[in-house]
Symmetry: C2
Subunit: 363 residues, 2 copies
Amino acid sequence: MDGRPTLQSVADRAAVSRQTVSNVLNAPHLVRPETLERVQSVIDEVGYRPHGAARQLRTRRSRVIGLRLQPSVDGINGAVLDRFLHALTEQAQLRGYRVMLFTATDDHAEIGQYSELLDTLEIDAFVLTSTHHGDPRTRWLADHDVPFVTFGRPWDPPADGATAPEHAWVDVDGAAGTRAAVEHLQSLGHRRIAFLGWPAGSDTGDDRRLGWRRAVQAAGVPDHELDALDVGVLDGVTNGAQAAHRLLAHVSPTAFVCASDSLALGALAVTRSPAAVAGPTGRRADLPSPAVIGFDDTPVARAVGLSSVAQPLTEAAGRSLSLLLEQLSARHQGPSTTTARGNDHHVLLSPSLVVRESSAPSA
Amino acid sequence: MDGRPTLQSVADRAAVSRQTVSNVLNAPHLVRPETLERVQSVIDEVGYRPHGAARQLRTRRSRVIGLRLQPSVDGINGAVLDRFLHALTEQAQLRGYRVMLFTATDDHAEIGQYSELLDTLEIDAFVLTSTHHGDPRTRWLADHDVPFVTFGRPWDPPADGATAPEHAWVDVDGAAGTRAAVEHLQSLGHRRIAFLGWPAGSDTGDDRRLGWRRAVQAAGVPDHELDALDVGVLDGVTNGAQAAHRLLAHVSPTAFVCASDSLALGALAVTRSPAAVAGPTGRRADLPSPAVIGFDDTPVARAVGLSSVAQPLTEAAGRSLSLLLEQLSARHQGPSTTTARGNDHHVLLSPSLVVRESSAPSA
């Protein structure tokens, strides 16, 4: 940390929220006169100079939004963010904006890119994806008063035990997705429903695990049984197959709810192979194959008949963009605009379950 | 067509190639003095003003490359261009360039976007994908003297029966890919090898068909048999399944070479389903399943064990970028640079066959 004043240090010193400091800079009509005066004097005193201050003086916006392109995953699930990118680019263009891509190897490199893009190409705003615990990117952008929205909720509890996270975000309710998957399986008569997920500690993965756990618990499955039905492995078809194999051997689930389509494909391969029936640990040939449900409804799921939880990515892109353009408007339109602020800049969308052969009712 | 002078009309009037006119504008040191003088006087006479002329006067480049994001295909093959986009963005950034995305519903809308992007955001250059017969985009960019490269060869024969197409391009040799697939199958003993492709008239599809046809022909299969083994349907898993079913019923191929992984998945579903063995038109259960080979080595192919022809997309992106940066350098570095011009700005890359279970030798 250098000693340069930040939005946070101004906020602390003036005993207001960061949002208030941002409003003082960008939408002063929203701030009460005495607060405005107090914050302004702190800004002058500490010599706070947000990146945004220079940009704010520009007469035209660049109408360009920056987005980090995640590394191309040699697999199945990477396609989700590509679909978000497509939807974001299409909808941005309809509203007169362009999407500029950049890449980065980690969060800190991404922050370096923000700085460079703001300085050299006058990017108006950023859309962030893949938020996680201890994410330094949102704090940097807030401190530098750069408009942004995240696709992905802030996973940290609010700092200082104070208010809710201030920044705008859109996310998909992963727990609701796995809950819908479990309830669908329960309606087909399944009771021993395993969760094939990622190791604990991944925010998205833990969210999906939680939805499964609560729904299975609600049906009266005791905790020790739940623990045995819950497996966390790194993503991938092979890992999914091995984990499914172990679960089948030890706890004989009749169904798998998976944190990804990759894991689900592994489970599908194990449960549908001839060896799954004929092998030494095989089930009896007259029993139905265990049901399998994936997550993300990738093209692979459609191709192989895998039931899967679909994220509303087009809507997520549209809502993200709306939240971003609201921020940009508030900065440029001045006192006549009243921007409603509340939880309306936190959007949690519901996924939907797509049922295919892999969880069809037994004949 | 309006009466505004274009690069072509200047070239016609000065009796030189378009490349020469471009050199006069951007790299005059490459042009002989008498030609330079003649072309310059035509330019003055007709009042030709390329978009590039204004940009050329700029002291700094934007270092931004424009790329049209193709519509998100609800399927499997769209992932190919996404992988090209990832590779292009990563490699551009390593060389100090960014990729700006835009969308368009057709070629003419894309041209409208070029114009807007050049005027408002000072894009340096464009990368085009999905070239095809009668593609108006390359002509527009050449006429406006905008640097560009295409991923995809120019499919039209050279205009006026004159020289080879002038613009820089990178492509993957589709015919070599299907030929490799056929030769692999022939080495396994297959002789009745069907082609499951798209309707004639698609440039990429016809190229892939040609590779199959020549390789099967080379093994002595007569033309009437070839015609019966050759099917063209619109892309998609269902279409692939139906076409494979018909081929099996009528000409009993022992292998399928497909123009896409989607079509191949359809063939795979038909040839591996229980009905394919037991049904009324089914083959005898003691015969091996027909071999199936797809095209593009998508994640779906990897997931289901489908052999497939892989395009070297990272290399294609790198070569495209190199060709583009050469053009930009030639414009900005002036007389000390000598740019070699020849077929070195036309790059045809070889794909490679990835063999998996779907074309494994019979046990």
